[in-house]
């Protein structure tokens, strides 16, 4: 029996976390919800997830950026795929799509622009986990 993959969802909107976790769990993933980077790192201290879905704007505008840089610079966590998911580019003229993957700027493995549809999210997650 294949090991159940776990997905750590980091987003400051509890309703979004609830909705996303229902969808992911229906595909057999275990989900862990974190409302901010602190909760994210608290979980990671205990257990490493198979993948992290990360929002950008949380307590601070750039919380997600700091969070992904920290994760990717730590030998223990740098292999965990990060899917960045945010509506931040509605407010700022950054091209996150093309910047995703740049080690110094946006060291994430994939990027999706909110609002995102459920199946699209599943497809992106599956692709990232296949690479693993």
């Amino acid at each position: 029996m294949a090991e159940q993959k776990s997905i750590l969802l980091v987003d400051d909107d509890p309703s979004f976390l609830d909705a996303t976790s229902i969808v992911l769990e229906s595909f057999g993933y275990k989900t862990i919800k974190a409302l901010n980077p602190t909760e994210c790192f608290e979980y990671i201290e205990k257990e490493l997830p198979s993948l992290i879905v990360l929002d950008v704007m949380m307590a601070r505008l750039d919380s997600g950026f700091d969070c992904c840089r920290k994760l990717k610079s730590d030998d223990r966590t740098k292999h965990i795929p990060i899917l960045m998911l945010t509506a931040v580019d509605k407010k700022y003229p950054f091209d996150f799509g093309s910047a995703a993957g740049e080690p110094d700027w946006l060291p994430v493995d994939d990027f999706m622009d909110k609002p995102v549809e459920a199946m699209e999210l599943i497809e992106h997650i599956e692709k990232l986990l296949e690479k693993e």
């Binding site: 909107d13 309703s15 909705a19 229902i22 969808v23 229906s26 909110k114």
Partner: protein, 676 residues
């Protein structure tokens, strides 16, 4: 200055425009537009004078009036700042000069000093651009921003330097080119420096704008003023009898020049000299009232008067002008004619003659119209409009305030769009999952129902957010309608609100318990009080912990009621108990989203009902709700570790609404409880 007068565009219209005295410099419109006030515009009609676009947008700041070259309110300030002395203002030196570049001299009216100076400033990076009048097509001239020597040369020289079509030229040609409105084209790029070439009225308007430190004059680094007797239109010139007498065909005019007289240089080599008196009657009324011939408030004033052909008479007035001129001289952009002091006195004497001529004409014209004396010489302060100078000082900061408001507006737009798109994200996630057959099948009935409820809850949140934004906007502009009626608070408001918010309560697995939320009839505004109760309950759900109870109570308070609501959740830090009622205030460690306006509106509406809203918070200790205040008062009784993440916190809001004494039955009232 005996009494305060609030001046506005209405005054400008009455004192200047209606009397036909508008210079059409566009300063008033430039200020109004550059600062995004947008109350006035150039009409675009035949006269092209300013007019209201929307009187409602007018701040009545009076700046349009103050900066008009035809008004006198700021003249003393300008005169003092520039150390103006009669008859032609202060100056450091006067020379006859010419451009060293032959290409410039070929196209120049006189010695090409204006083009050479601008060229020097551009190439030496002293300025980023210059606003000059430039030929467009064969005969029309328009103000334009130039940033290169090529453009400068193209713009230089006489308006008659090419073959003309009289009929079309008559429609378009005027010796006056409105350069000031172009300054505003630089828009938000405030870190640039430009030079402007203009007539005395244009330079005066710029100086007035600079005296008030208002946008867009802040980017004007250098001014070059043209000697000016008057401006006129080509149509009027061609109707003059001397045109026929001298058999002048406009197609054969090579150059126009203003020296001791008005000169038309023909292609044949003949120069027709026309005394200014001959063309006085075609001058614009604004010019007939102007004193300033020698452009007394420019950094450098230039003209042909007093210099030999091919040279420009140049009055170097300010320290900056001295620096620029010396730079141009040292870098060989210009050269000066050998002149003795006697030569200079001769030039000054000639200029003084023309200054007197224009001044006498202005005085004659003003007397004829029964007007106050125009500007240019020390003014009779007794005739000045009584201005609220405190107000004038305030308006000096108006631009900064406008920029701050714009920044705030952009922030608000960003805030609103982010909050709405966050909620939209949840809705899309829920609905897209339900709409996808594969996902829907995997979810099963129970989860499908949960997602549908989630979507509905988010939609209701979004609906509340939009309503709060709209209500806040109305409240801030005093447009919240106040319509009291007798209502049952429990039945008409609380029960309906709970029904609305049921999906959100369900998602969070929370229970709403109301003590005595039964019949209590009060005269108040149903929809406004509905907003307060809705926002308080919504708040309690959003910031409450899952699987907890929200406790509410309703009781009579005078003729009105008191509604109290308590939740267990993230609480409120003690130092935020007041700040949470500020507009766009956010204390949101959960990041649950929201408008930042909910509690702000509750306080506004409570005040409209002569009531109030207060917040209390603290810790739940042994099932008792203990406020910060109580903990502080009994430190021995309660031991709290602020870093204890498991400590249970609560927040309580107490809303008091005073009832109206009677139901209003007339037209809708705005802004408050008239019975209170």
């Amino acid at each position: 200055m005996t009494q305060s007068t609030k001046i506005s565009f209405d005054d400008l219209y009455r004192d200047v425009i209606e009397k036909g005295l508008c210079n059409k410099c566009g300063a008033c419109v430039s200020f109004c537009t550059a600062n995004q006030i947008g109350a006035i515009e150039m009409c675009g009609c035949e006269d092209n004078v300013p007019r209201y676009t929307d009187p409602e947008k007018c701040f009545k700041c009076g700046i349009c009036y103050l900066i008009c070259p035809q008004t006198q309110e700021l003249n003393e300030d300008i005169i003092e700042e520039f150390g103006w002395v009669p008859p032609y203002g202060s100056y450091r030196d006067i020379v006859s000069a010419q451009a060293t570049d032959e290409k410039i001299r070929e196209v120049a009216t006189d010695g090409g000093v204006v083009t050479a100076l601008l060229s020097c400033m551009l190439e030496q990076k002293m300025i980023d651009g210059a606003i000059v009048s430039k030929k467009v097509g064969l005969f029309d001239r328009q103000p334009e921003i130039v940033t290169s020597l090529e453009d400068l040369i193209e713009a230089a020289g006489s308006q008659y330097s090419e073959a003309l079509h009289l009929d079309e030229m008559g429609k378009k040609y005027t010796t006056y080119v409105p350069v000031i409105p172009v300054v505003r084209m630089f828009g938000p790029k405030r870190a640039i420096k430009i030079a402007v070439v203009g007539t005395p009225c244009q330079i005066m308007a710029i100086r007035k704008m600079q005296a008030l430190n208002i946008i867009p004059s802040d980017i004007i680094f250098f001014t070059i003023g043209l000697f000016c007797m008057q401006c006129f239109t080509f149509d009027n010139l061609m109707e003059k009898s001397f045109i026929k007498e001298h058999n002048i065909n406009p197609k054969n005019i090579l150059k126009v020049n203003v020296k001791e007289d008005f000169r038309l240089k023909m292609k044949s080599g003949v120069t027709v000299h026309i005394p200014f008196e001959e063309i006085e009657d075609i001058a614009r009324p604004a010019c007939l009232r102007c004193h300033d011939f020698s452009n007394d408030f420019a950094d450098i004033s230039v003209g042909g008067l007093g210099s030999p052909d091919g040279y420009t008479t140049t009055m170097i007035r300010t320290t900056l002008a001295k620096k620029v001129f010396t730079e141009a001289l040292n870098r060989n952009y210009i050269k000066i004619a050998d002149m003795t002091e006697t030569d200079k006195k001769g030039m000054l004497s000639l200029i003084e003659k023309f200054v007197s001529k224009k001044k006498e004409r202005a005085e004659r014209y003003s007397r004829g119209l029964g007007l106050d004396e125009p500007d240019g010489t020390p003014v009779d302060t007794g005739k000045k409009k009584a201005i609220d100078y405190d107000r004038t000082i305030d308006v000096k900061n108006l631009c900064a305030e406008c920029e701050e408001l714009n920044r705030h507006l952009n922030w608000v737009i960003g805030f609103v769009s982010h909050e709405l798109s966050g909620t939209l994200g949840t809705i899309v996630m829920n609905i897209s999952a339900l709409a996808n057959t594969e996902i829907a099948q995997r979810l099963g009935d129970n989860k499908q129902n949960q997602m549908l409820t989630g979507a509905l809850g988010s939609l209701k949140l979004m609906q509340d957010m939009i309503r709060n934004y709209l209500s806040s906007s109305k409240a801030n502009s005093g447009q919240l309608a106040f319509n009291p009626s007798r209502i049952d608070i429990g039945k008409d408001i609380i029960a309906i609100t709970i029904k609305r918010l049921a999906p959100i309560l369900k998602i969070r697995n929370m229970e709403f318990v109301c003590d005595k939320c039964e019949e209590l009839k009060v005269v108040c505004d149903l929809s406004l009080v509905g907003v307060t109760i809705n926002n308080l309950i919504n708040n309690a759900i959003k910031y409450g912990s899952k699987n907890t109870k929200i406790h509410a109570s309703l009781k009579k308070w005078g003729d009105g009621f008191e509604f109290s609501i308590t939740n267990e959740g993230i609480g409120i830090p003690e130092d935020k108990l007041e700040a949470i009622f500020d507009e766009f205030a956010r204390f949101d460690p959960l990041g649950t989203g929201g408008t930042g306006l909910g509690l702000y509106l509750v306080r506004k509406i409570a005040a409209m009902h002569n009531g109030d809203i207060k917040a209390y918070a603290g810790y739940i200790i042994d099932e008792k709700y203990v406020t910060y205040e109580s903990i502080r008062e009994s430190p021995d009784k309660y031991t709290i570790d602020p870093d204890d993440k498991k400590a249970r916190k609560f927040a309580t809001f107490i809303l008091r609404i005073a009832g109206c004494t009677q139901v209003e039955s007339g037209p809708k009232k705005k802004g408050g409880n008239k019975n209170g």
